[in-house]
Assembly symmetry: C2
């Protein structure tokens, strides 16, 4: 693969330029939760795309920050979509940063800045991969489209509606997609991830009186705390099985390839257990059963509980109101709206029609098949760069706006990227190692190279 080595040499030679772009990009704050610098960052994103030779456009999104669209032509009729986002998490707590979050710097072979790992560094790495390919090999083997949104860190509330518009579906039509940016594990092996869980976030409320009462009235007056607690108790017991009838009906059966991938995954239980300060994991799971629960099974979690008096000491009160916040992490093919309806019906049938349910957020799950040709190609490209077969995870445990891309555009999605477990994603002192940054550029370039070598048309 002489051509690939030439591309790699180009990237090695231009590493300083790529690092400079990454620092420049991260210097622009773009905190979606605080509506800070978003349009400025969209404009800078479009500028970076143009510098890399892409046609680019800032596309307005009603009610939300703009989406940046980019395009490069290719020699085949296939299209590779690069999904990313230019917004970042809030930098707080600021006192825990050793250097200011929006004053990027290089220290001991690492790039420090808010957003460098999640995920501006990936945008820059991929733009330099495109440039390297074109400077050394000529025209790309497939058309490349970039879709870079500005509110991923707040749950992409406008993304599905945006992509549902016929004009945008056409604009972003593609065959396969590289997702925003994964990581290499502690051993340096890249994690290729193929899916996300969905989420249904609800608030449950019991309201039994016009005001808090003296607790002696608990003998005869209803208690919202007990009502809520009994209602929650009907949702899940200590066996961790969700008791809402029909909850598991839509869960897609695991494929043989998915189960095999779980068997092959490193068991980092002890490290995780100690880092979190937890005792045993639920059900004493380990190995593949741990990964199955974490990546393949839906959850019913209590994010918050609140009733009555919660300060220090004694107050004898019968509260008037009790509230709980729950998130259900969903797996394919569960749908948030269907789970919401099942939850309401279940509460009614269990005698809890007095418990109000309000949905605060919903995103559908998504997962691409391990057996998709594009996944195999991304894995082979990783082997070229990292010198070992990558880990392939059928899903992450968290949520992202992958379902609209998978379902509306009909593409296969794979996620790979430049972070590592110590990157401090969403935390102070976020950083990436320059060696990982370089490998990320090369992996993207290798994907393009294999798309030419192996024939872009062999499948999705």
């Amino acid at each position: 693969m002489a051509g690939l080595e030439e591309i790699f040499r180009y990237l090695d030679a231009h590493l300083d330029d790529a690092v400079a772009d990454a620092l420049r990009y991260c210097r622009q704050p773009s905190v979606s939760a605080q509506n800070l610098g978003l349009e400025e960052c969209a404009a800078l994103t479009a500028q970076l795309l143009r510098e890399a030779g892409c046609a680019s456009e800032v596309v307005p999104v009603p009610g939300g920050p703009s989406v940046v669209y980019g395009r490069l032509a290719g020699t085949s009729d296939k299209t590779l979509l690069l999904y990313n986002h230019y917004d970042v998490q809030p930098p707080e707590p600021l006192l825990e940063w050793t250097s200011p979050p929006f004053e990027p710097l290089v220290r001991e072979g690492k790039l420090y800045a808010r957003g460098i790992a999640d995920t501006k560094g990936n945008v820059v790495a991929r733009l330099w991969a495109l440039r390297a390919y074109r400077e050394t090999m000529g025209e790309l083997p497939v058309a490349v489209k970039l879709l870079i949104e500005g509110e991923e860190e707040v749950g992409s509330p406008h993304f599905e509606d945006f992509l549902r518009q016929p004009r945008e579906r056409e604009r972003f039509a593609a065959d396969y997609c590289l997702w925003e940016g994964s990581q290499v594990d502690w051993a340096g092996r890249p994690d290729i991830r193929l899916g996300v869980k969905g989420i249904l976030y609800v608030e449950l409320e019991a309201h039994t009186a016009a005001r808090d009462l003296h607790s002696s009235w608990a003998a005869v007056a209803p208690s919202p705390a007990w009502r809520l607690l009994w209602a929650l108790g009907s949702l899940k017991g200590p066996d961790e099985r969700v008791r809402i009838p029909g909850f598991y009906d839509a869960v897609r059966p695991d494929t043989r390839e998915e189960l095999a991938s779980l068997e092959g995954m490193e068991d980092d239980l002890e490290q995780t257990r100690q880092a979190f300060g937890v005792g045993d994991f639920l059900g004493g799971v380990r190995g593949a059963s741990y990964w199955h629960r974490l990546l393949m099974e839906p959850t019913c979690n209590i994010c918050g509980l609140e009733a009555g008096y919660t300060q220090a000491g004694v107050k004898t009160v019968l509260p008037a109101v009790a509230r709980a916040k729950l998130d259900f992490r969903l797996v394919p093919d569960q749908r948030p709206q269907e789970v919401l309806a099942l939850l309401r019906r279940h509460l009614d049938q269990e005698g809890f029609s007095d418990i109000a349910v309000r949905a605060l957020a919903a995103e559908a799950p998504a997962r691409s098949p391990i057996s998709a040709p594009f996944v195999g190609l991304v894995a082979r490209a990783a082997q070229q760069v990292y010198g070992a077969p990558p880990g392939i995870r059928p899903s992450i445990a968290g949520t992202g706006p992958m379902a609209p891309v998978v379902e509306l555009l009909g593409v296969t999605v794979a996620d790979c990227g430049i972070a590592y477990p110590g990157s401090g994603v969403h935390a102070p002192n976020e950083h990436v190692r320059i060696a990982d940054f370089l490998n990320g550029m090369k992996h993207c370039a290798a994907i393009l190279y294999l798309l030419r070598e192996e024939g872009a048309g062999t499948g999705r």
Copy 2:
């Protein structure tokens, strides 16, 4: 009863003086929860006692505010104890008062001040009853002792230990006791109350990790909110029956007189329901079954629940800690420390040894028998003043430091007083009606009169 009419005339003639004393007493702030003005109020209490002709002493209490002791001689060897307290509830929220809480005033036949109903007005009313008796009839028929403590509103934390000292038990030895101060009902009929519920106030805590985690980890990491909720669910179900084995074992059987008293009580359900803004009462109770639950049965109430994120909107978090505050209202002969031990054992047996239990407050229940001669005398005295038979309640639904008095001094206790359901006890704009204040003086005087007429020695 010519003598009684003479006493009443004296009280009618001196009503303005008694009102002036009540206003003077309430002008002195004495907020035990805020350690405000307590010793000043103890001194003023002793001064009021001396003005009424009592020998009085301010008795230091290690670690708490002083107790005021007063004494008057009598012609028999029997002793009537008057239990009261000089501390008051905090006045907050101040903005809801139409006149300042410690600037007492008379408006439309009512006395407004923090503490006037609970319970400084009762102290003054009883002192004037003693004075009226002695000015018109001569020496009292029984010795009278006054025990006026300064931390009833914070649960009398030093009271039992204080009274357990041999010296204090002897000092306050008595045969019967008038409790701090009850009320007349909406129809103007006095409530005579013979008992209190006890309390065990506990905090339960589940702690599963060193810090909050991203909620995607809920698939494999334990949740303190679910642990706590399942533990609480094992304590009580929707049938309202407490499921802790042995919880009800010590409950004293109701007497025939107690059950009959419940049958005779006014059913003010609809008024209470509307005032509280509640729907149905638990189990649809009404009439005697309502009163039985409210006054005679123990409770298990959730005062507070807290875990994770409780602000507006969405935060996807697996909390590290969850806490609940519970109060058990206990009835004779349940003991708080025994219930605490039963609770701990139950949680351990149900698999919740990970749930920490901490007792924050404990008071024993107490109840005097309806059949006690002193109770009948207090009722007959009420008939003389109010012109109708009083209501006799075996207990209140709340808690007070009655058990040390009943158990350590071995006295029969009855509670009667000057408030009415609109008095706003513990609330802004606390007040009493002057007509009730006068009747309260007369009731106390009539009790003294009947103790002479009917023979102080006929029983306790």
